[in-house]
Amino acid sequence: MLKMIRSEWIKIRRSVVWLLSGVSPIIALAIGTFGYRPKGGFPWEEMLSLLSALHAMLFLPLLAGVYAALLCRYEHAAGGWKQMLAMPVSRTQVYFAKFVILMLLLAVTQALLLIVLLIIGATHGIGSPIPWGTLFASFAGGWLACLPLAALQLFVSVAFQSFAAPLAVNVILTIPNVLVVNSERFGPYYPWAQPMLAMLPRTDYGFGAFHLSMETLAAVVLGSFCVFFAAGWAYFTNKPV
């Protein structure tokens, strides 16, 4: 498994994915620099909701799909699957390695945004102590909430030769976030809305889904992750190449 990941690493080391991971943090940098208006007693939390709103609602779910499509693109393009699967490795190893790399890229994206948040906080001279626990829960939560999205997008990206098809699926599933996130009825159960529900600070009462318990949200994330991942994995192990 480790050798598989080390092999994958060579492929993405000098790839365009790294540029993409910077897009959302740079936009957040602009929003934070020009859009921050201190209101009350929780400046870090306010900054967090300001920076993570667009990121968690759109960019993060979209990136999960774009990364997945890119990780599969160079395999579809010139016979990479065929070459890899004729090697002494199991298909399970190949699929798991792709998933691990995908989650790693999302973690890098989250880390970059966290760094941006800390920089902006410092430049605005926020004096109150940094609420590490809240920030960590928010960024790690948003990352974990991407598990089902990443699983489905990897499945779709492995299945379709074309680069555009998985991205179309991704956009179609992410767009409803804008509506669903305010809905008490659907929001909590829609996997694509989970990164947002997980990232925004819980002191922010603007959204309908927030009265739900952490346990319910975790169950939705884990449940959909298991279904999507198992489906993609089973598909890949039987795919003729």
Partner: protein, 306 residues
């Protein structure tokens, strides 16, 4: 138990695709150290067979044994000893040749020095640090062969390694492959849609057509099947042709030359006598040995499409 003498053996190997058997009851047998030419016109089922040999696709029916082991049960230990290039070379365009080989090397766990070894075998050492997307097709094919050699395989499976190359590129790849069993100690399965391409290097051939293996034996046996025919140069060939037909000879006239199939000495003598008696002037009587290519074309009935 499978026969230990064969490095590769299939029994009743069948693949059903789109409602028909594109590989039908194929029994391949390849011995150690052989260069096995796997021949067939385009669409005959070569690539489909090779995919099943490597465990890339599952057979509808039948079995594949490599090194006496079943590919379904022991895929990973088997593939450790197999190097392959299927249909067209695989590569990552944004990486250099060295990085492409490193991707595979990390999977195989062979020493780093193997990369330089195989690069020099396929003579890509000088180009090794260039991105592969700028390579010519011939260089990509060579990189594909280098990749296949990386793990020091006992069996090398090359699917149409010269496809799409110009004559010089074909010649280069052919020389390279011919030199391998001696220098690398491998058994080679090489597929092609041209007999002439593998003729000089293959020790055995299998011919597949429309999914059926229609011939499998040494290349010498195939040559012996080369039927000779006699060509007659006469003053009025068309009239001579009618005459020979009326006497029951297997004569053929294609508006250029008059030929008779399967004629022994006595028959030739009799034909010449007949012709002279009817006042034909006989200029030439020549024996024409059928080329292997013609036999191949006759067997597969694809003269037009090649």
């Amino acid at each position: 138990m499978s026969n230990q003498a064969w490095i590769l053996e299939t029994r009743g190997l069948t693949k059903r695709l789109g409602g028909k058997n594109v590989v039908n009851e194929v029994n391949l047998a390849i011995g150690k150290g052989e260069i096995y030419g796997f021949l067939g016109p385009n669409g005959a089922g070569k690539t489909t067979t090779i995919r099943m040999l490597l465990g890339l696709a599952k057979p509808t029916k039948g079995s594949v044994h490599l090194f006496g082991r079943d590919i379904r049960k022991e895929r990973i230990p088997i593939l450790r000893k197999v190097g392959s290039l299927v249909e067209y070379p695989s590569y990552y365009g944004h990486l250099t040749a060295k990085e492409n080989l490193e991707v595979v090397r990390r999977l195989l766990g062979v020493p780093r020095s193997r990369i330089d070894d195989v690069l020099s075998v396929v003579r890509l050492t000088k180009e090794a640090d260039r991105a592969v997307k700028g390579y010519s097709l011939g260089m990509k094919q060579r990189l594909g062969i280098a990749t296949a050699l990386l793990g020091q395989p006992e069996l090398l499976v090359l699917d149409e390694p010269t496809n799409g190359l110009d004559p010089a590129g074909i010649q280069e790849i052919r020389e390279l492959i011919k030199s391998l069993p001696a220098t690398q100690g491998v058994t080679i399965l090489i597929s092609s849609h041209l007999l002439s391409e593998v003729e000089q290097m293959a020790t055995r051939v299998g011919i597949i057509d429309k999914g059926n293996l229609i011939y499998q034996d040494g290349i010498r046996m195939l040559r012996e099947r080369a039927k000779s025919r006699i060509r007659f140069g006469v003053s009025e060939p068309e009239a001579a042709w009618r005459l020979l037909l009326s006497h029951g000879y297997e004569a053929a006239w294609d508006r250029h030359q008059l030929t008779v199939e399967r004629a022994d000495d006595r028959t030739v003598a009799a034909i010449v006598t007949q012709l002279v008696r009817q006042n034909h002037q006989v200029y030439r009587v020549e024996e024409e040995t059928a080329s292997l290519e013609r036999i191949f074309l006759e067997m597969t009935g694809t003269e037009g499409s090649l």
